[in-house]
Amino acid sequence: MLKVYDIDVQSRLLLGTARYPSPSILAEAVRRSKTEIVTVSLRRETSGGKSGGAFFELIRDLGVRVLPNTAGCHSVKEAVLTAKMARDVFRTDWIKLEVIGHHDTLQPDVFGLVEAARILTGEGFKVFPYTTDDLVVAERLLEAGCRVLMPWCAPIGSAMGPVNPTALKSFRAHFPDVPLIVDAGIGRPSHAAEVMERGYDAVLLNTAVAGAGDPAAMAEAFALAIAAGRLAHKAVPLEPRDMAVPSTPVIGKAVFS
C-alpha cells in the first residue's frame, strides 16, 4: 500500500486527465487503470464559464481523488494563484506543483518551484512537486515542507522513458523513505515497469495514455506493467553482470572448462 500525505492508495498509477479524445474515453481509461488519483489542470478560463465547469463535474463524477495541478504556470505568483483556485474548485489541499522554466522543454524552474512550495506548504497545502532528478533541489523541496517528490524521467510528453537511469538510481538511494513518483517522460508500459523495478513508489502519466490509439486499453496495460514492476522490485531482481552465468548447475560434470 502506498501512503501519500497520510492517505493510503492501492493503485500506484496516477493518471492525468488532459487531451483524451473525449470525456467518455477518459472515464473508461480511469476505470480500466483502476487508478485512485487523477490530476487535473486548471486554466483560468476553464473556471470562468456559467456552468461552473461542466468538465470538472465530469472529473468529480469519476469517483476518484483529484490532485489538481498548476500545469502551464511560468511564475511563482501564477502557480500560487492557480493552487488557491484549485483548492476552491476541488475542495482539496493537495496540489501538484509545476513551475515551468522553459517554454520549449517544459523543464521545471527549480528555484521558483522551491519558493512556491514553501509558500504553499505555509498555507496548509500538501504539495506534490514536479521536479528534475537533482538531489539538492529535492532536499530543498523537503525542507520547504514537501512530503512527496515527483522527479521527471524525461521531458513532459517526450515519451522517451528514463533517459538517465543513473540519476534515478541515486535519487532513490538518497531518499529511501520519501514517496517518489516518477512524473513525466514515460512513453510505454515497459518504461513504467523499469522505474517501478528500480524502487519508485508510483508513476504519473498522461500523454502516454491519452495519446494512445486506444487510451483505455493502454491505461490497463500501464496498470499491469506498474504492478509487475512493483512486484519485481519486492522480489529483488538480479543485478546485471558482464559475463555469462550458466543457469544449469555444472557441479557433477566430468570436466570443468
Binding site: 478560463e45 476553464t46 461542466a54
Partner: protein, 326 residues
C-alpha cells in the same frame, strides 16, 4: 404539420432546410438579431471526416463522409473538393506517422508533390499526408445562402427574444450551447480562432499543421483571407480570445509559412461548442420537442446527418407534411 425550429446556427438551418425539402412548414426562431451568431460563425467549415477520425470515434467518419454531398446538393457551388493537406515541422515528423496510423483515406506526398499541390509551401516540408476526398466551405457564406434559400421558399424567420409565438405542432430545438446547464452532461468546449489577410501567400485547400501541443489548421477563404483555428479548451466561457491562444495560433501560422508574419489580423473570435461526454451529437426527444445537440467541433460535418435523423423521426411519427415534398 408545422415545425418550429429554435436556433439559426448550422444545426437549426440545416434541419430547417431538410424539413422544408420534405415538405414541412417551417418557422425558424433565433434569439439573436441574425443567423450564425453562435459557434457556427467561427467554424472552420472543413468537411474532413477522415482527418477528424484521428481523435473522433467512427460515427464521425461514417456520418460525416456524406456531408460534402449534402452541402453541394443544398448549395451548389459552395463546396470546394480539394482535399486536406497535413504537414508537420521537422522536429514533429513523428506526429505525422502517428496521424497516419490513426486515420485512413490518405496518401503520402513527397516534397515535389507538395509543391505541385501548394506551390507556396514548396521546400518547407519534406513529406505530407494528403486526404484527397475531403472538402471545405465558407461557413458564413453557407449559412447566409441557406437563409436566403429558406426565405425564398417562404419559410418564416423570427428574430429576437421570446420563443416564436407562431402556432406549431412540433419543436426542434437546435439552440446548442444555450442548453448547457439544462441538459445533463452537455458541456461547452471553447474554441478560439482568428482571421488573417495577406496576398503574399495563397493556399488552395485547408492545411493542418501537426504539433504535439498546438495542432492548428488554416483554411483559405476568398479575398486573401485565412481562417486560423482552433483552440480546444474545456470551458463555456465565451469571452474574447486570450493573449496566450492568440500567440499560439499566430506562432503556428508563422511556422507554416513566414509570410503570415506580415499578414493583417482582421478579426478574432471565440465560440462555445456544445458537447456530450463522447463528443458525438445526439437527437433526443422530450414531449413534442426534438433536440439536436452536441455537435462539438463537427457542426458543418455532422449537422446534415442529424437533420436527416430529425426528418426521419418526424416522418415516422405519423406526421404528414403540410405540402407535397419538393
Amino acid at each position: 404539420m408545422r415545425i418550429l425550429v429554435k436556433g439559426a446556427g448550422v444545426a437549426g438551418l440545416t434541419v430547417a432546410w431538410q424539413l422544408y425539402r420534405h415538405g414541412f412548414d417551417v418557422t425558424i426562431h433565433e434569439r439573436a438579431e441574425k443567423v450564425g451568431q453562435g459557434a457556427s460563425g467561427f467554424a472552420g467549415g472543413m468537411l474532413a471526416p477522415w482527418c477528424e477520425r484521428e481523435s473522433a470515434e467512427e460515427p464521425v467518419l461514417t456520418l460525416g463522409r456524406l456531408a460534402a454531398d449534402w452541402w453541394e446538393a443544398a448549395l451548389p457551388g459552395h463546396v470546394q473538393r480539394r482535399g486536406t493537406l497535413v504537414v508537420a515541422g521537422g522536429r514533429d515528423a513523428g506526429e505525422l506517422d502517428r496521424f497516419a496510423r490513426r486515420t485512413s483515406g490518405w496518401e503520402w506526398l513527397d516534397e515535389q508533390a507538395i509543391a505541385a499541390l501548394e506551390p507556396n509551401l514548396a521546400g518547407r516540408f519534406r513529406k505530407a499526408l494528403f486526404f484527397r476526398q475531403e472538402a471545405h466551405l465558407d461557413p458564413r457564406k453557407a449559412l447566409s445562402a441557406l437563409t436566403a434559400g429558406l426565405e425564398e421558399a417562404r419559410m418564416r424567420f423570427l428574430f429576437g427574444p421570446g420563443d416564436g409565438a407562431a402556432h406549431h405542432d412540433r419543436v426542434v430545438d437546435c439552440t446548442g450551447a444555450a442548453r448547457i446547464g439544462h441538459v445533463p452532461n452537455l458541456r461547452g468546449v471553447r474554441g478560439e480562432m482568428l482571421r488573417l489577410e495577406t496576398s503574399d501567400i495563397s493556399l488552395s485547400r485547408p492545411v493542418r499543421l501537426l504539433h504535439p501541443r498546438h495542432p492548428i489548421y488554416i483554411v483559405p477563404r476568398e479575398r486573401n483571407h485565412f481562417m486560423v483555428g482552433a483552440t480546444m479548451i474545456e470551458s463555456d466561457d465565451a469571452g474574447p480570445i486570450t493573449a496566450r491562444s492568440l500567440m499560439e495560433l499566430l506562432n503556428a501560422a508563422y511556422a507554416l509559412h513566414p509570410a503570415f508574419g506580415e499578414a493583417r489580423l482582421v478579426d478574432t473570435g471565440a465560440g462555445i461548442r456544445p458537447a456530450y461526454p463522447d463528443n458525438l451529437p445526439q437527437v433526443t426527444e422530450e414531449g413534442d420537442t426534438l433536440h439536436v445537440n452536441g455537435l462539438y467541433r463537427h457542426g458543418f460535418l455532422l449537422a446534415p446527418a442529424m437533420a436527416g435523423e430529425v426528418a426521419r423521426r418526424l416522418l415516422a411519427g405519423h406526421a404528414q407534411p403540410e405540402r407535397m415534398a419538393s
